[in-house]
């Protein structure tokens, strides 16, 4: 009977691994024995990826204890694995492994590593409290109505979970000062779809726009909105600036008679855009961040047309 324990803490470098002797494994398994089942809402280990300590990954090899799966995770006195969502018999197993007198001494890392891990274990405990579905639901209901997302808001990322499918604002990946920047326009950027063709709504589906006089045009003509719909963007006029549960939100505006323009809503809840050949920006014509394209300074694009949803992998533009 033997155990291998991986301290799941790093992101770039390999996680530290501790090989236990048979005696150590026996002692460890006593503490890891499953006791009562966890509360139903805690049965799933937090799915939000976090940086820093994320638990101890335990692997049994040689002989397997039948009460536990071959691989499982221990976090704060709880066990997670295949058919496993239980409290552990010992609630100080992390101290047993990572404490200054713990098994962590078996691996040759800096002296401070044990202290850092213990601190991280406590930090993760606080983070898990915030990730608790009950707390998330409560806070979201109480606060998200009134508070805009701010980077400094400690609960920022779960407040914005509704936009978790939205693309991240990464202007540098478009602003290359070269082919990508020059040959992709607002439609490319909003749909997060690089074609290097200065894509036009409807061109991929053989239904390219021919009337930019307004958002809605006579039935014999094709508007930018109709072109986009034929490219499989989904008209979502009642989105009211809220991210869809799947895909991401874009907004179409019209400079009547001249042009159209697209914005996209990012994961942080704010909007960004790429005006023609120019660089991607998150500012409007007044230099302000764009929380809602309906109220942003849009210059000559005076007609707000509609919100639309881009389902990733389901659209085709050219």
């Amino acid at each position: 009977m033997a155990l291998r324990i991986t301290i799941d803490i790093f992101s770039g470098r390999e996680n530290p691994v501790i090989e236990l002797s048979e005696n150590e494994s026996v002692e460890a398994l006593k503490q890891l024995k499953p006791s009562g089942r966890l509360d139903q809402k805690k049965e799933i280990f937090p799915t939000e990826p976090t940086l820093g300590y994320r638990g101890l990954l335990i692997e049994q090899y040689d002989t397997i204890d039948k009460d536990l799966p071959q691989h499982f995770r221990y976090v704060h006195g709880e066990l997670y694995g295949k058919d496993l969502a239980h409290k552990a018999s010992g609630d100080a197993f992390e101290e047993f492994v990572c404490g200054s007198e713990g098994l962590i001494r078996k691996i040759k890392l800096d002296k401070e590593f044990s202290e850092m891990v213990l601190k991280e274990i406590e930090e993760f405990k606080k983070l898990r409290y915030l990730l608790d579905p009950k707390i998330v639901d409560l806070l979201r209901r109480r606060l998200s109505i009134y508070w805009p997302c701010r980077w400094w808001w400690p609960c920022y990322w779960w407040c914005c979970r509704k936009c978790r499918c939205a693309p991240i604002y990464e202007p540098a990946s478009w602003n290359d000062g070269d082919i990508k920047e020059w040959n992709n326009n607002c439609y490319n950027y909003a749909s997060n779809y690089r074609t290097d063709t200065f894509a036009q709504p409807g061109r991929a589906s053989g239904n390219i726009w021919n009337d930019l006089s307004a958002c809605n045009v006579p039935s014999a003509n094709i508007s930018a909105k109709m072109g986009a719909i034929s490219d499989d963007l989904i008209d979502n006029p009642n989105a009211n600036n809220k991210c869809p549960s799947q895909g991401h939100l874009v907004a179409l505006v019209i400079a009547p008679g001249w042009d159209y323009h697209w914005y996209r809503k990012g994961r942080n809840g704010y909007w960004s855009h790429k005006p023609g050949h120019t660089q991607v920006t998150n500012q409007d014509n007044s230099g302000n961040a764009i929380s809602d394209p309906r109220t942003a300074n849009r210059g000559l694009y005076t007609e707000f047309c509609t919100f639309m949803t881009v389902m990733h992998g389901h659209i085709k533009i050219k």
Binding site: D259, N285, L300
Partner: protein, 118 residues
């Protein structure tokens, strides 16, 4: 040697209007450029949406950028900035666009706002 190409940076979704410069306009641009005084002014703030200036790109590598009084010539990496107090270059260039491009009224308005439209 091909023709120089001019375009107005103005649209977002549809392609910007682009046209070949006729010899008369190019000659005017080159002659006027020689008469302008060098300037140390910074590039002015340009609107994010809407008219963002005119460009000329010539086969030998010369590239002009013109926005109101700010004129920049880039000759193979050597940049010279000059001040066109009367915005003659911008006006001439926009006037040279073939009618087929139907440059929008707001391009004209941009120049109108300074009261110098022809």
């Amino acid at each position: 040697m091909g023709k120089c190409i001019a375009w107005a940076s103005v649209f977002s979704g549809r392609p910007d209007p682009e046209w070949s410069l006729d010899d008369e306009t190019l000659g005017f641009v080159e002659r006027t450029w020689e008469t302008l005084k060098p300037s140390l002014e910074q590039q002015p703030t340009i609107p994010i949406l809407g008219y963002r200036g005119c460009y000329i790109r010539c086969p030998e590598g010369n590239k002009w950028f013109i926005y109101k009084t700010f004129v920049k010539l880039n000759i193979k990496g050597n940049v010279v900035i000059k001040h066109d107090a009367n915005m003659e270059l911008e006006r001439k260039l926009i006037n040279s666009a073939p009618k087929i491009f139907q440059l929008p009224s707001f391009v004209w308005n941009n120049i109108d706002s300074d009261g110098i439209k022809e």
